[in-house]
Amino acid sequence: MSSTTEREKEAPRPVRRPGDRIFEALSTSAGILILLTLLGVAVFLTLEGLPGITASADEIGGKTGGKGFFAYVWPLVFGTVWAAFIALIIAVPVAIGVALYISHYAPRRLSSTLGYVIDLLAAVPSVVYGLWGLLFLSRELAPFYQWLADTFGFIPFFAGNPSGGVSANSILTASLVLAVMVLPIITAICREIFLQTPRLHEEAALALGATRWEMVRLAVFPYARSGIVSASMLGLGRALGETMAVAMVLSASGVVTFNLIGSTNPSTIAANIALQFPEAFGTFTNVLIATGLVLFVITFAANFAARAIVERRKDFSGAN
């Protein structure tokens, strides 16, 4: 094996033609622009957020209920992760199912129309999702929650209120709204990826006597793995960052609880910012921005984990 240094000496930067150089410069600078933007956002968040993190409980004052930054942010972190987690648990399987239905199960002539129908969900603005959650979903779900509490009340998730009632504006409702919101995002990307599965490999699987489902498992899913993860991460990003709909639907009170159908629920960082920011001033503004920084970190951690999963089998990518 020749050592790398030797190779580098022998092959200095290869000649590039102007077109290529311009194109590469363009695409590199696009990447760098993103870097700078993010740097800008990060600097902004850090500068504005730092005073909030370092401020003592007294400085922050009554707005946080006399708590310091970390005590304040912890229930929010919990709520954010919990709501997004439930939303994804619900949305990802359904989205994959829908995408698969459109790409491989529905009559071929219908499939593009059906895709369009689901894309409509992506067209709904979050304010409308909020209204829908408030005016429709929560009312429809109330009896169901009551039934859950009556039947499964012994499970902490379905404990309901201490007084025996339930709240239809609980974290579960908010998560359901989030799930519906992220569904079209995940579906659309998964669908495109499923459709890209090379015919060659689908035929290989079918010729082995695979049923349709087995063909999907053998040829489609492995090929689409990284795409599914990416799609879910985009969905997660939306679920974590969604403000209006959650703010409008959730009956939030900054507690940490796994109870899915009670009236006291953890709030989420993004919704909390949306709710508190307008009336915030002074150090509390910084506290809120600092919670935004925390959301950043959460998003990053989730994506990092997902990337790690995908990277591990990179050699086995479908593009070869």
Binding site: P125, S126, V127, V128, I193, L236, A270, A319
Partner: protein
């Protein structure tokens, strides 16, 4: 070759192998039809609610995979189970869609009138007025955001897939794009505001500022979606182009992008749909106004979601007229995205591989 072939020893009959372990063709149809009939009858009879009837009908269709497991064995049964699950997923997704559309259309539909589209809210109190100003704002700001973010996002994706090659810059971009997907929209608004304050001083409100905030939200979606689609283009095709003496950039533009176009278009429309409904960041940087403004670079602009939000949230007295306008605006917004989607589909159909699918 010394290995011998161990064949399945028992002689088997083709007939049984191929046919007997199979449900007759009419069975699936009959089960689905039967379940549907039972559901409809229950619903009509009024014995149970419609939701319950649907649920019962759906539960009955499970007879098919169960029968299949008994008669046809595990593999067939799994296949049927998955088919049922996948179709149910689709049906399930239609429920929220249906109820949202019904809600918006039934409340917003009656609002749509010539006046609604041609009037702004300037000097309007109570009844009347329209969304002209918000419509203009939405179209301009979203278009500007798209113009900013699509080239950046697409070029970045191209960099990551075609040029980055896993080097340090590309890894850090990937990393940052990931983080970017989690920026709460309001933070994007604050950031854009802080950015514009540097140049224009406090209190600045500009349509283009809103576009920048939206672009911050759009870029990661565009990058991610495009990146995935570009990755799926087989290397074979790139090699075929290279071997013809085609420079890399032309290969990317003329071979890779057209092959991935339908996915890219989907990604871009998704990104647009994602931000076109944003409220919080626009309020901070684009402000709120009742009047029409065509200039992105001066003064405030209202967009449909902001309009909807405030119409519904602070309706005045009596509230009905304003709330109705809010629903009307929401409906218009949905229609816009629908049309956009249609156009995008036409575009991708036009460019995508001929034949095959």
């Amino acid at each position: 070759m010394t290995t011998t072939l161990q064949k399945t020893p028992e002689p088997f009959d083709l007939k049984s192998e191929l046919q007997e372990h199979q449900l007759p063709l009419w069975v699936p149809k009959a089960i689905v039809a039967g379940a549907a009939v039972v559901g409809v009858l229950l619903a009509v009879s009024g014995a149970v609610s419609i939701a319950q009837a649907v649920l019962i009908g759906w539960a009955l269709t499970w007879a098919l995979p169960i029968a299949s497991r008994v008669v046809e064995g595990g593999r067939k049964a799994s296949d049927r189970t998955v088919t049922l699950l996948v179709s149910s997923a689709f049906g399930l997704a239609l429920i929220p869609l249906g109820s949202i559309l019904w809600l918006v259309i039934s409340r917003g539909g009656p609002q749509l009138s010539a006046e609604f589209f041609t009037y702004s809210m300037r000097n309007v109190v109570g009844e009347g007025g329209g969304i002209y100003h918000a419509l203009v704002g939405t179209l301009l700001i979203t278009a500007a955001a798209t113009i900013i973010s699509v080239p950046i996002g697409l070029f970045t994706a191209i960099y990551l897939v075609e040029y980055g090659d896993g080097n340090r810059l590309s890894r850090s971009i990937t990393f940052l794009v990931d983080v970017m997907t989690g920026i709460p929209s309001i933070v994007a608004g604050l950031f854009a505001y802080a950015l514009f304050v540097i140049f224009f001083g406090e209190g600045i409100r500009l349509g283009i500022g809103g576009a920048v905030a939206l672009a911050v939200l759009m870029v990661p979606i565009v990058v991610r979606a495009c990146e995935e689609m570009l990755k799926l283009v087989p290397n074979e095709l790139r090699e075929a182009a290279f071997a013809l003496g085609v420079p890399k950039w032309r290969t990317v533009v003329k071979v890779v992008l057209p092959t991935a176009i339908s996915g890219i278009v989907t990604g871009v429309t998704l990104a647009i749909a994602r931000v076109i409904g944003e409220t919080a960041p626009l309020l901070i940087i684009a402000g709120l106004t009742d009047s029409v403004n065509f200039n992105l670079f001066s003064e405030r602009m209202t967009t449909l979601p902001v309009f909807t939000y405030f119409s519904v949230k602070f309706p005045g007295v009596p509230p009905e007229a304003s709330i109705d306008r809010g629903w009307g605006a929401a409906l218009v917004l949905i229609i816009i995205v629908m049309l956009l989607n249609l156009v995008a589909r036409a575009v991708s159909y036009f460019f995508s591989p001929k034949g095959e699918r």
